[in-house]
Symmetry: C2
Subunit: 278 residues, 2 copies
């Protein structure tokens, strides 16, 4: 992989994290700070934040509810249920998600935990980069995938200006790229990329952190995402999901942006096992 | 996985080994012992031994030739070529393989390296178990997949009577199971199991080592192999091939044979990446 990308790469394998993604970090950091009278939390998620929140709340016997778009990955739905979440279906559109969430909050005594636009979540996700910077020295860059910006803004805070954080984003969901170009937070693009964890647009707090750091965003085509996914499987022998492969895809698509000694966060690995032998 | 199997499991992940399988161990141990006037070696292989031999010979600038059945995995063919092997096609039958090999040896000045019936190969494969026993203490058992018996006989020598080595074999390729039952080395069964690395029958030297140790063989159905493969992907997030998943499948199919604290060798991970997103 080093030869293909033209850099010395060091991977933080968050596919091996609890619940199969870095999201466990922000969820547990948030849930452990909740006051003891809270009995239920609710969030919206395509899967990984929902599973993380379900796992984290199970440590404190708090109930978790997750508003999930109907087109979410069946594997991620099962993963959320495995950790104890109660799923609430909504449509694919942002408006449907918001209205279903508001309706739920009206009828239930539950605390809303935003998947990324929350300082506690951002601090938790930042620990992935913090650990990576502790494990190896002299990084030129840290590359992270960007969707809502929880992982990316946490990385920027953890790097604390000492190492550049570069964001990788699917070209079909380039709202973060556009936000950094225009200086204004862009609305989400239609959810067409296979990187299902990166379809949402930057949160307010997340955008302000990325903007202050003058963060560069590297785009990846869908073909490159698929290629990177296969490369990780076939050469590194680990299971990652498309949203994680975006980091390698963006490096392959933007060789001039890649420095010499690079840390990269492989954000998660929640996809189903092979059926080619069935 | 511990809960599903009902044991404390410790995995030796040979899918992360050079060339993607434990075979690199025996190949390099053998090739580094060859006399300096040897210019070419030849072997027969469904893929993993061939790739390992190609890699090992590339360290000494020796040429490698591999007799490969026409139904071998295209991924494994590419893997052998990637490490520099020259492939020679043969039919699926044992007779075709033997005749193609003999014809090659008549026409070329090449040294034949058997994939498993060779003391140097067995000693090399044994280092996987040796390292596993060094890394953790107080194992009750070590489980290994068995095909030709290189890994299994090496494990028995490395365990040296202090830990039981249990072999896992596809029920559709149960020649080792039958050999241990009857006391006579059985011929190979038709190559129908999806565990393509385990279709060959025990070598002579390998059988004598298994027999002396009164080795138990646990069988796995094809359905269990497929299930175990998915479990490893989905819960452990690592890529293994069916021949490696056989170890977990055999444990799931034979719970009464599984001790409490168990080492297991995941033999390789040479299968193609996912195409579900294409």
């Amino acid at each position: 992989m080093n030869k293909l990308v033209g850099a010395d790469l060091f991977f933080k394998c968050e596919n091996f994290q609890k619940t199969g993604a870095f999201k466990a970090r922000g969820a547990v950091n948030t849930v452990l700070q909740l006051s003891s009278d809270i009995e239920s939390v609710v969030t919206h998620s395509s899967g990984n934040h929902g599973a993380a929140l379900a796992w984290a709340t199970s440590l404190r016997e708090i109930n978790s509810f997750v508003v999930v778009p109907t087109d979410a990955s069946p594997f991620k739905r099962r993963n959320m249920e495995r950790f104890g979440a109660t799923l609430i279906d909504c449509g694919q559109e942002l408006e449907s998600r918001e209205s279903v969430l508001q309706e739920f909050l009206k009828q239930h005594d539950a605390t809303f935990i935003h998947p990324y636009d929350d300082a506690r979540i951002i601090a938790g996700q930042g620990t992935a980069t913090f650990e990576l910077l502790e494990s190896e020295q002299n990084f030129d860059q840290i590359w992270v995938p960007v969707g809502g910006g929880g992982l990316a803004s946490g990385a920027i805070l953890a790097a604390n200006g000492m190492v550049e954080v570069v964001c990788a984003e699917p070209a079909l969901a380039k709202d973060a790229y556009l936000s950094m170009q225009t200086g204004y937070r862009q609305p989400p693009l239609p959810p067409v990329t296979i990187a299902d964890g990166l379809r949402s647009s930057l949160g307010e707090l997340n955008f302000s952190i990325l903007k202050a750091a003058k963060t560069r965003v590297a785009l990846a085509t869908e073909d490159s995402i698929k290629r990177a996914l296969r490369l990780v499987f076939e050469m590194m022998k680990i299971v990652v999901e498309p949203s994680a492969a975006v980091v390698i895809a963006a490096m392959l698509d933007n060789p001039s942006l890649v420095a010499k000694r690079v840390g990269a966060i492989l954000s998660g690995g929640n996809i189903p096992g092979p059926h080619q032998f069935d």
